[in-house]
């Protein structure tokens, strides 16, 4: 116990927290500050004599850099594509799993498997299925008659990004399924019983009870998922390495390639900072909207 200005301050909770805080400061906060400073520097690893502060030059360079804008656009396509597909399939899965039937337990466990699949495994399995010579997807499409010959899905700049979007839909839809299923199970049965007494149809029950009751779950899971998908980089990097050309460059991929391949730490940091600021901006707007809706009693 320590006395600070006459009050007794219990140090024990801080003592328990101190290791976690110390590590967090060392490996998270200190690096973040460094990234911000690097973003104002010319810092190329193999030119150690030319490391210097250059003010906002990296940021101005990004504005004039066509690859930055391609990556920015791809990031938006990527987020919208992945999230809407995952949400749609996850929602349907949750509605099915919310019913009572004999193989429900097994179904729920099996559906979760993609979600625990390592990104590297997801990437290699889908790469193999998309393969232009021996891919099972090509074989099936030719058999059904949709394609006349095999198509290199990941090697074509028009299809590569969408092919990866499909792979990430596979990996991520169980997340939505589980969150929405938990939301569905939290809706009291009495609401549906009352609606039945009032003669509501199945569709009415869905739009008037199920959807409004799910809004909080949807808001939370959408936000978490959008942040995660915006930051995700390993699946894209392993499946195409950002190519062909720049067709699968998103902002995290571009930053990673600049740092890892180009050893251009200054510019890579700038892109990382811009990405972080964009996500922070999105989260603050999103939360403000949600809070305002809560004030109006819509949630």
């Amino acid at each position: 116990m320590v006395h600070v200005s006459g009050k007794r301050v219990d140090l024990f909770p801080y003592f328990l927290l101190s290791p976690a805080l110390l590590i967090t400061i060392l490996v998270i906060f200190y690096p973040i500050i460094r990234t911000f400073t690097y973003s104002f520097m010319q810092y190329i690893l193999w030119k150690p004599t030319e490391i210097k502060f250059i003010g906002f030059d990296n940021y101005l360079k990004a504005l004039r850099d066509p690859v930055f804008w391609i990556s920015f656009q791809n990031t938006l396509i990527w987020i919208v594509g992945v999230i809407s597909l995952q949400l749609l399939l996850g929602f349907c899965t949750a509605l099915f799993l919310n019913q009572k039937f004999f193989w429900r337990g097994i179904a729920r466990s099996l559906v979760l498997i993609p979600w625990v699949t390592p990104s590297v495994i997801t990437a290699l399995m889908w790469r193999w299925m998309y393969d232009g010579n021996r891919g099972v997807i090509n074989d099936l499409l030719v058999r059904v008659g949709i394609l006349s010959s095999y198509f290199p899905w990941l090697a074509n700049d028009k299809t590569a990004l969408y092919a990866i979007i499909l792979a990430l839909m596979w990996q991520g839809f169980p997340f939505f399924a589980i969150m929405i299923l938990a939301g569905l199970q939290a809706i009291p049965d009495t609401l549906y019983e009352a609606a039945e007494v009032d003669g509501a149809s199945t569709l009415q029950k869905f739009t008037r009870i199920t959807l409004p009751m799910l809004v909080p779950v949807l808001f939370t899971s959408l936000m978490l998922r959008i942040i995660w998908v915006a930051n995700s980089l390993d699946i894209i990097y392993i499946m195409t390495g950002g190519g062909p050309g720049y067709s699968t460059h998103t902002l995290p991929v571009y930053s990673y390639i600049r740092a890892y391949k180009g050893m251009d730490f200054g510019y890579a940091s700038t892109i990382a900072v811009v990405l972080t600021l964009l996500i922070t901006l999105f989260v603050s707007i999103y939360l403000r909207k949600v809070l305002r809706m809560e004030d109006r009693g819509a949630v």
Binding site: L112, A123, M129, R134, V217, T220, D234, Y256
Partner: protein, 286 residues
């Protein structure tokens, strides 16, 4: 008689609609979830030279375990597994030792700055990996830790500590405070209350969190790609190196994928309930 047949017909009708509106679509979704694994597994049983026969076969003509054997004889996969196990287990132990006291503190004590500190752990969970990558690389080089187990264990704590603090706080909150009070009346001091009374009760939650840390460390690729090289090579890196080769040996690669994914899936089934509970509790209430 007529009543009986009416009921039967009604039952059959119900069964038909359930098949159409529930069993069939859900079976398709489950099939979609499993298809990549089934295909990967089938490929891993096919000898490399059979993969490029002119006729496309779904089931391997001569199923064999050669690919699995070659993993260990040709590319030293055993070493990759060893590296992954060492990194994942140490990350788990270090992570738990640091976050168990922290989350106990969040759960049991009300102190100045508590809300801000908790929010801080939530926010840093959302920062992109690329924001930390470059400075961590520079730091490891400065400390001479490049290509060591320690570099990965340190880097992985950037995402395991915030996440596991949140998860464990939830588990501790579910244990009634009366337990702590009773222990203190019985003469435990505060540290022994945590170590000897609360910890054993919280063990299921702690092991679930530990297994989750193990899985994320086992799966990690991005940090391992820039922080390690020839000395330490975890499974994801070994697999990625095989993809990078000019002619990809798909039989070998799919076998490596199966070997790496199976432990993760098995572990996951053990902690499914706790993990889902921890994940959904906040969202549903909020």
């Amino acid at each position: 008689m007529r009543k009986e047949s009416m009921r039967k017909r009604k039952q059959r009708h119900r069964f038909l609609t359930r098949t159409l509106t529930l069993h069939t679509p859900l079976l398709l979704i489950v099939g979609f979830a499993l298809a990549p694994y089934i295909w990967t597994f089938l490929t891993s049983l096919t000898p490399e030279e059979d993969l490029y026969l002119s006729e496309f076969r779904y089931l391997p003509a001569n199923p064999t375990g050669t690919n699995y054997l070659r993993l260990f004889s040709r590319i030293d996969y055993g070493r990759n597994i060893r590296d992954s196990v060492i990194v994942a287990i140490t990350t788990m132990l270090v992570g738990l030792c640091i976050t168990v006291p922290a989350s106990y503190s969040f759960s049991r004590y009300r102190f100045k700055g508590r809300t801000a500190l908790m929010a801080q752990f939530l926010v840093i969970n959302m920062f992109p990996v690329v924001l930390l990558l470059v400075p961590l690389f520079v730091l490891m080089r400065m400390l001479g830790l490049m290509d060591t187990y320690l570099s990965l264990i340190i880097a992985y704590s950037t995402f395991t500590i915030p996440f596991s603090t949140w998860m464990l706080t939830g588990f501790f909150n579910a244990i009634p405070r009366e337990l702590d009070e009773a222990a203190q009346i019985d003469g435990c001091n505060r540290l022994s209350t945590l170590l000897r009374v609360v910890l054993p009760v919280a063990l299921p939650g702690i092991s679930a969190t530990g297994i989750y840390i193990f899985i994320t460390a086992w799966n990690e690729f991005i940090y391992a790609a820039i922080l390690t090289g020839s000395n330490v090579r975890t499974i994801p890196i070994a697999l990625q190196n095989m993809i990078g080769e000019f002619k990809i040996a798909w039989g070998l690669l799919t076998a490596g994928g199966v070997v790496s994914a199976v432990p993760v899936i098995v572990l996951f089934f053990f902690i499914q309930r706790q993990l889902i509970h921890g994940m959904t509790a906040g969202a549903v209430k909020g």
